[in-house]
């Protein structure tokens, strides 16, 4: 595989991927106005693993959707590299997602009518310089099940396919929303291992949303959210390996 960076390089480069300033997201509901995010400022760097921790309703998934260009903020800006995401129209946001963002969701969201290989190819076909789908699947330890349909896989396997699908286009950022939320802890550890491996081998900035504090151990930095604001930030002196995590 080419273009793979090691963890040491990540620390050395520290190029800024995202700058988030005064980010606010307000929803209008029948019960009134809900502030999901309230004036968040933060910077994210290439190659990092960031864990967003917080209870439900703290705004972590909202932040993830704004970073991924699935939604727009009410107030504030997000810069991705040198461009301002918040000024893009729908078409440009779609192009941004297509080119730079890989998503992993809690409920896998594989296409049930496509095989494992086809699910990954779906994204590879759109990319300029994709990782070969079989390599991506090998990276997550699923090279044996290429022609199976999602319904024939376990939850953990499905999630690993979702990770392979996300990284096959060599995204600049991998956004994972509760990737272990729907699997048991043993399977969850294997899913995290796959994410970690992609981060190490492809140097992808990985933002991982979870309410599971144990997972924070594998991050470079941990941002804690509460009531739509960053309540705390800490940098781990040493990233724990995913396989060492247990909950």
């Amino acid at each position: 595989m080419t273009g793979v960076k090691g963890a040491a390089d990540v620390g050395a480069t520290k190029r800024k991927a995202y700058s988030v300033r005064a980010l606010t997201k307000t929803y209008q509901t029948s019960g009134g106005q809900v502030d999901a995010l309230r004036g968040i400022d933060l910077d994210l760097f290439e190659g990092e693993i960031i864990v967003l921790l917080g209870p439900s309703g703290s705004g972590k998934s909202t932040l993830l959707s704004l970073l991924g260009g699935l939604d727009r903020p009410t107030v504030g800006q997000i810069w991705f590299r040198d461009g301002e995401l918040t000024s893009l129209d729908d078409r440009a946001l779609t192009a941004y997602r297509r080119r730079h963002v890989g998503f992993v969701f809690q409920f896998y969201n594989l296409i049930p009518s496509l095989t494992v290989r086809e699910n990954v190819e779906l994204v590879a076909e759109m990319a300029d310089r994709p990782v070969a789908p079989s390599d991506a699947l090998e990276l997550v330890g699923l090279s044996e099940r290429l022609d199976h349909f999602p319904a024939q896989l376990s939850g953990g396997e499905q999630q690993r396919v979702a990770i392979a699908r996300a990284i096959t286009k060599r995204p600049a950022v991998l956004l994972c929303d509760e990737p272990t939320g729907a699997v048991d802890s043993k399977t969850g550890a294997r899913v995290l291992e796959a994410i970690e491996r992609c981060n190490l081998e492809l140097g992808t900035l990985t933002v991982l949303v979870t309410h599971n504090t144990v997972i924070a151990g594998m991050a470079d930095r941990v941002l804690s959210l509460a009531d739509g604001a960053v309540a705390g930030e800490r940098t781990n002196a040493r990233r724990r390996k995913a396989r060492e995590l247990a909950w």
Binding site: S61, S65, G68, L70, D71, D90, R91, T94, A95, R97, R98, R99, V101, F103, F105, Q106, F107, N109, L110, I111, P112, S113, L114, T115, E118, E121, L122, V123, E125, M126, D147, F149, P150, A151, Q152, R165, D177
Partner: protein
Amino acid sequence: MGILDRKLVRDLRRIRGQAAMIVVVIACAVATAVMSFGVLRSLAETRAEYYERYHFADVFATLRRAPEPLTEAIERIPGVARVQTRVAADAALEIDGIDEPVVGRVLSLPDRGEPAVNAVALRQGRMIAPGNAHEIVVSENFARAHGLVPGARLGAILGGHKRELAVVGIALSPEYIYALGPGMIAPDDRRFGVLWIGRQALEAALDLKGEFNEVGIQLDGSKPEAEVIERLEAILKPYGGAGIYTRERQSSHAFISSMLDQLSGVGRVVPLIFLMVAAFLAHTVMGRLIDTQRQQIGLLKALGISDRAIGWHYLKLGLVLIVLGTGLGLAAGAGLGFGLTDIYTQFFHFPFLRYKQDPAISAAASLVAAAAVAVGTSGGVRRAVSLPAAVAMVPAVPSTYRTGSWEKLGILGRLNAPTRMILRHLARWPLRAALGVGGLSLAVALQISMLFSFDALDHMINGFYSRAQRQDLTVFFADSPSSAAVDEATSWPGVVKAEGYRTIPVRVSLGARARLVNLTGLQSTATLVRLLDAELAPVRLPSRGIALSSKLAALLHAKTGDVVTVEAIGSDTRIDVSVAQITEQYIGMDAYMDLDALNELVGGGSRISGVHLLIDKSRREALYRTLKNVPTIVGISERAIVLASFHDTMARTLTIIVSFFVAFAGLTAVSIVYSGARIILSEREREMATLMALGFTTREAGHVLGGEIAILVVLALPLGCVLGRALGWVIAERLDTDLYRVPLIISGGTSGVAMLVVLLAAVISTWIVGRHLRRLDVLATLNARQ
């Protein structure tokens, strides 16, 4: 309202689009059934009552002349209840301000009292004063067309003499509910009317003192009709009469019966198509609802709500649709029934005709609709009832797809992922796909089966009549004059060419099969009126032998070369003649032979019934002025007017009726596509959200939705055309009567319109559903529990 009922209301609100579509299709079914059977019943009952009240005859006979005392012999025939003789003749009418030919059918009324058979219904004015020779009663629609009211006067050439007649009354007759004049193929109230006059006056005018030339008979039912006819034939034969026909062959009665048959066909077939679609929609929508509410059902059961209550809850949802659909359908059906009755009253003249809503029909239509929808929803309801609480609490097992053997051929390798998704989804639920295709193709077929009437009409007028009948005018003479009349006709102003013809009633038989038809003799050199073969190519009139119209040949089981027996009615002449030609004829079923051969058959020298004329149109008015003064002429038919009137009458009726069905078919297509698209969206919205999150545009993700619909539509369109032809064939067969045949001609335009309507319906429905996709909350959809 209980909690479950509140849930029901909210569920209905959530699926309101699909629910509305099911309601509309049920309404279409109920409305067409109520309309068709309602009008059918109203017309049939009105006709029966009309016949009863005005003693419409069961058997009719025409003859040359017979003395009045013969009536007693007829009355003595066992099985005869009432007899009425009369004098009848055609007359050329002169109406102020109209230079076109107008034909009057002049019928005598008894000088005293009501006719025992075929009485008239006086609508305005009074009946003729006894013994008054100049008073007449005229048929209502004819009077209306010319603004005739009691007190008006009109001229008529009767028995070769011009007479001034005074209108004293306006009336209707059960014999002329559908009034066709000589040479006409559709009613034309401006050019044909019925006149009633005193018996003595008409006898005197026609030189038939103490005689009659028509008789109407009512039977008492004690003897078979055939037996009475046999005896009647024997009595009338010496008087030049055996032109006996039953009510079934009476033209007005036969036309109405044929129309009632069509209505009954429509009433049986069309609602069934709508009900099949409604059941299919109810099945898919209810099935999907249960799938999405598995966990709710489980929860409700876990909370202690019984299976029965759950079943009843979902059944109620179906019932609401049934109640709304039948309610709407009954209201629409009544409205359409009134509308259709109104259309029919333009052609059928009844003294009383009201569209009567029949509770039995409404109840039957509602029950059948309810049963169809209940069958459609029963699968879903059963599933809800049988769902164990524990199973219902866990998410449904994701759909398992398989690589089909058809994929191994490698075709799919070249297709992109969304297309593969579409094909596998279709293959995963083949029955649903097949039913969707079936429903849409029925929508195409239904339209074709109705729209083709326009093609048939066009074919009959521009294909058939323009080739078979090229004369401008046909002139009918009172008594068959000698062939010299043709030379005289040639000398009339503006006449370019004149060809004589003679038509006589004959009985044509082959073996045990016989038919009473008109035999027309044409000049061997005739070019104005030509015989056409099945491909509508002109064929030469055989100098020997007889040409039979295809319908007549089919009824007699005769083919070219067979020898048929031709018996001239009213004479003892009877010859065996070989079938030289089978010809196409859409209206009526006649036989043709050489004029000289026909005259030889009948005897009495070379005679004609009328002439076909080709005229110089710039001298049309001069010609009409001359014709008005030729006393032997009883009628003139102008081909262009006959065809235009036929076209207008048919096109007007067809446009209204066909528009209904095209609109209904369009609605059906919208409902099928809309429901299908909503279900696809509901089943696949997560997949489409995934695609959008992965960087596909909304349009690309929407391809999964639109593509599946497109495949169903693309499969349905050609299938619909094939089904449409089959349905058209069934309808054409139903319309194939002794009176007329409808050629099964389906133009590219007809198929095109039918397909376009369904295509447009599909595009509009998909666009509407597509709006939901454009508003999709991608993140919420992806994070929702499966």
